[in-house]
Amino acid sequence: MPLASNCPSCHRTLPRDSWLNERQVHCRNCDADIEFVPFPALHANRSVVRSEAATLGEDATCFFHATNRAAAVCNGCGRLLCSVCAVDFAGQCLCPTCIANRPTSRPDNVSSRMLWDGAALMIATLPIIVWPFTIVTAPTAIGLAIYGWNKPCSLVRGSRVRLVLAMILGAAQLVGWVAFLTTVLRATPAVRH
């Protein structure tokens, strides 16, 4: 059985006679050799989830659907759920509300993160090319590094090296500015009244 009807390279339809065997196909449109590595989930029977209607008065019903019979309990909030509302999520049976409000402290619940360390380092390094801007960007970089110190960092890079680097670069630029301004002021003749 072909695993896909379209070529992943050119997205055109793969005719049945393009398949060399169950795992290899040659697309005539883009002349690409494609290899499939199938897994058991591909052929596994998918069960269609249907909720049962609550028929008797004493049947426990779903928290979200008063007419559906409860079939599971949410591992997050303990509410009774029907088969439609019970979602198998990351190994747990959760209701849609718990999935939406899941804590982002767990690494497997995070969908995106702001990188304060990356932003601080970029602001500290990029304006060096046009150095007059560093009088503004250096304190900004230091401020961002301080602000982002206790914020959650990247999920895969857990260190604060970039924050420290941004602080050092920003401080160095500020020291440079102080030295520059001091030199300029000393070189300027004093105005005597």
């Binding site: 690409a32 499939f36 590595v37 897994f39 989930a41 497997d108 990188l115 990356g118 895969v156």
Partner: protein
């Protein structure tokens, strides 16, 4: 004290247009990280949901080889002309030659390029970090056994083990667990 690492790196970052992405291995899923430098977004593909991995040829290797090869050829001709008819090789001609040669050599060392897609029940998604056959083979050697182990319950038991008259297990029409073809990426120019 070092924090326990939740994810292990599978590939280095590969840059795209304004973004770079990398692939990481979690306890029960693959993590595709797409970063802009200011923010990161995470996509998870749980082992139990992966239906197939699709590897297709890409012509990026040939294009890059041709472009850098032609550039090196013309730079070499220019250097030769300068030696024969001029006052020797100008140092300025070495300025583009060295990076071009490095790119040419780097492309040859990394080997043929490919595109990899991951197929789940609802989507087929490209995995940009897997862009070379050699790296793909290395990553597949790590993740395919994990995916097979996660989906072990979907593989039917041998016929002799099934009690007579018992209903077939879920996914009884499943074929034997797949193996990575040894031909994957065979004939590579540099692999």
């Amino acid at each position: 004290m070092a924090r326990p690492r939740f994810y292990r790196r599978l590939t280095r970052s590969r840059s795209g247009v304004g973004t770079y992405s990398s692939l990481w291995l979690g306890p029960d899923h693959l993590l595709l990280v797409t970063s802009t430098g200011f923010s990161e977004s995470y996509q998870r593909y749980y082992f139990r949901d992966v239906q197939a991995l699709v590897v297709s040829d890409s012509n990026r290797f040939v294009v890059l080889l041709a472009v850098t090869g032609v550039a090196l050829f013309f730079l070499g001709i220019s250097a030769l002309m300068a030696v024969l008819f001029g006052n020797g090789v100008s140092p300025w001609i070495m300025l583009p030659t060295i990076p071009t040669f490095i790119v040419f050599l780097w492309n040859l060392i990394l080997g043929r390029t490919c595109k990899v897609h991951i197929v789940t029940g609802v989507q087929t998604v490209p995995l940009p970090p897997l862009s070379r056959f050699r790296r793909t083979r290395r990553v597949f050697a790590k993740i395919v056994p994990l995916i097979e182990a996660a989906q072990a319950s979907l593989v039917p038991p041998p016929i002799g083990d099934t009690p007579t008259g018992a209903p077939p297990a879920a996914g009884a029409n499943v074929a034997a667990a797949p193996e990575i073809s040894p031909e994957l990426g065979s004939g590579a120019a540099a692999s």
